[in-house]
Amino acid sequence: MKDITSYTDLRAIYTDTLIDLGKSDERILVMEADLMSASGTKPFKEANPTRLINCGVAEANMVGVASGLSSQGFIPFVNTFGCFATRRAYDQFFLSANYARQNVKLVGTDPGVTATYNGGTHMPFCDAALTRVIPDLVVVEPGDGYSLHHLLKAVYEHKGSVYMRLQRKGNPIVHSKDTKFELGKGIVVQDGSDVTLIATGALMLSQAIEAAKELAKENIKAAVIDMHTIKPLDEELTLAYAKKTGAIVTCENAQMIGGLGGAVSEFLSGTAPTIVRRVGVQDLFGEVGQLDYLIDRFELTPEHIVQEAKKAISLK
């Protein structure tokens, strides 16, 4: 594989990593529902013509077929837009993939506002919340190219179903070659003592880092954590930083109800009640527009994070 920093889009890292894994493991299959061109998995098909299964525009069937393939030992990586991956095939993913204890890796692309021009019908705000309530499911959202590459390997090695939120475009680099990635283990991107910004996903991790810079200008020391695994939540790290900073802001490109903010709040309220402010989509439907417009419209900017951080600190 090429050097991670040389990629312009995360989706290419996704495909190249699968091609790599697929070389030594023929059980790996890629499944698509007429969005191969969007997911960017065509090179996998070129490398393995029979192992990319295009199901046509039929997501529910795709997830059901993936479950059957899994029961026979295959490891299907199933791709479609996050909205359809979850909402459209939820019962199939819930029952055939998870309740039946299968090994289906469902990948929902274009999370949250990154669905931009596809608009409200295509804007997955609720996929994190929907998947987080499925018992034993692992829910991940990589924060950069390195994270995607290494977590995808971990997802492959994990025995059981996974839901991955995958931003297709851009390749922000936050981590380095030497960063260790493990499912269920958050990563401290920078340390701080006044407030902790817990972010998930490429968009919001970058926003949180920006926000921390802004806060630093006002002499507020913010810790930033990449919580790439929303489920299972890294409780140990969350607890440690709740105690250390006494104020938390969660940052997610998703409906704030039931997602990362929900997970952190649920955990802390029963262990170490701490002020948790949540940055995320506030119980709204998506809408169409450019990324910048939507980030602003749904209050996902560094400024909003800064504002919430100050509020959290003031409520300590």
């Binding site: 061109s37 046509g56 039929a58 596809n118 608009g119 295509h122 169409v288 527009g289 450019q290």
Partner: protein
């Protein structure tokens, strides 16, 4: 249809194609292919067949309705609605921009004249069946038109609706399948083949016709025959060309959702007018 009327409708279709190319061209990218393949169907419906529709009263009781289940073709419908005066033509230049009333996929709560919200393929078909059933309850005599894609027809929901509409004898439901033989990842026959599509719908108990989806005269005859049916829902399988009238990508898979420059748009408009 007399030749004068036919000519008029054909010209109208050309204008709608022009508007749609300008609308998407102004943004620089969009679903040009699937929008242009249904322009002749839309033109026939909105300028000839649909009854009781009123741009000044978009939600008029008892009007005929259209559900564009392949909601990504919204830009073509917006061109028609703007041309008919449901909203100002300037709105077309706001397509997909933040705060617009014209989102990429049809939204009944944002766009005057849009009868149902669509975008998740398959869903519009059931909504249309629900509307048709409601018209039966209301005894309105109104017709519900539905446009589905060929790729879209791979969704199980289309076929669930198919059985439902036959069971409930929705003869007031007239469906067009835009058979442009292309979806995003290839031809429909490469991805998941639909054939024998006529026999499939026949087997579902529908009244099936297959026509040239760009021949307005033939389309009209098919709609009239469909309207004359009693008890059976109708489907008109329309053989079409994706991106019809858009010279840079007519008939190409790449036309599904493509980016193109202002110059390419201008060239396409020139070619269209020269046709």
């Amino acid at each position: 249809m007399d030749t004068q009327e036919l000519k008029h409708l054909q010209n109208k279709a050309k204008e709608i194609r022009q508007l749609t190319i300008q609308e998407i061209g102004n943004l620089g990218l969009g679903h040009i292919g699937g929008s242009l393949s249904i322009v002749d169907i839309l033109t026939l419906l909105y300028y000839k067949m649909m009854e009781n529709i009123d741009p000044l009263d978009p939600r008029k009781e008892g009007r005929d309705k259209l559900v564009l289940s392949k909601g990504h073709a919204g830009p073509a419908l917006y061109s028609v609605l703007a041309d008919k005066g449901y909203f100002p033509k300037e709105w077309l230049m706001t397509l997909n921009q933040g705060g617009t009333n014209l989102p990429s996929h049809c939204d009944m709560n944002r766009t005057p004249g849009v009868d149902f919200t669509t975008g998740s393929l398959g869903q519009g078909s059931s909504a249309a069946a629900g509307i048709a059933l409601a018209e039966k309850f209301k005894n309105s005599g109104a017709t519900t038109y539905l446009i589905i894609g060929d790729g879209e027809s791979q969704e199980g929901q289309i076929w669930e609706m198919g059985m439902f509409a036959a069971q409930y004898k929705l003869d007031n439901l007239i469906t067009f399948m835009d058979y442009n033989k292309l979806q995003i990842d290839g031809t429909t026959s490469e991805v998941i083949d639909l054939e024998d599509i006529v026999q499939k719908w026949n087997g579902f108990g529908w009244f099936v016709q297959r026509v040239d989806g760009h021949d307005i005269e033939v389309l009209e005859e098919a709609v009239l025959k469909a309207k004359a049916q009693s008890e059976k829902p109708s489907i008109i399988i329309c053989d079409t060309i994706k991106a019809k009238g858009f010279s840079p990508a007519q008939g190409l898979q790449s036309s599904h959702h493509m980016a193109f420059s202002k110059e390419v748009a201008q060239k396409a408009l020139d070619d269209l007018l020269a046709e």
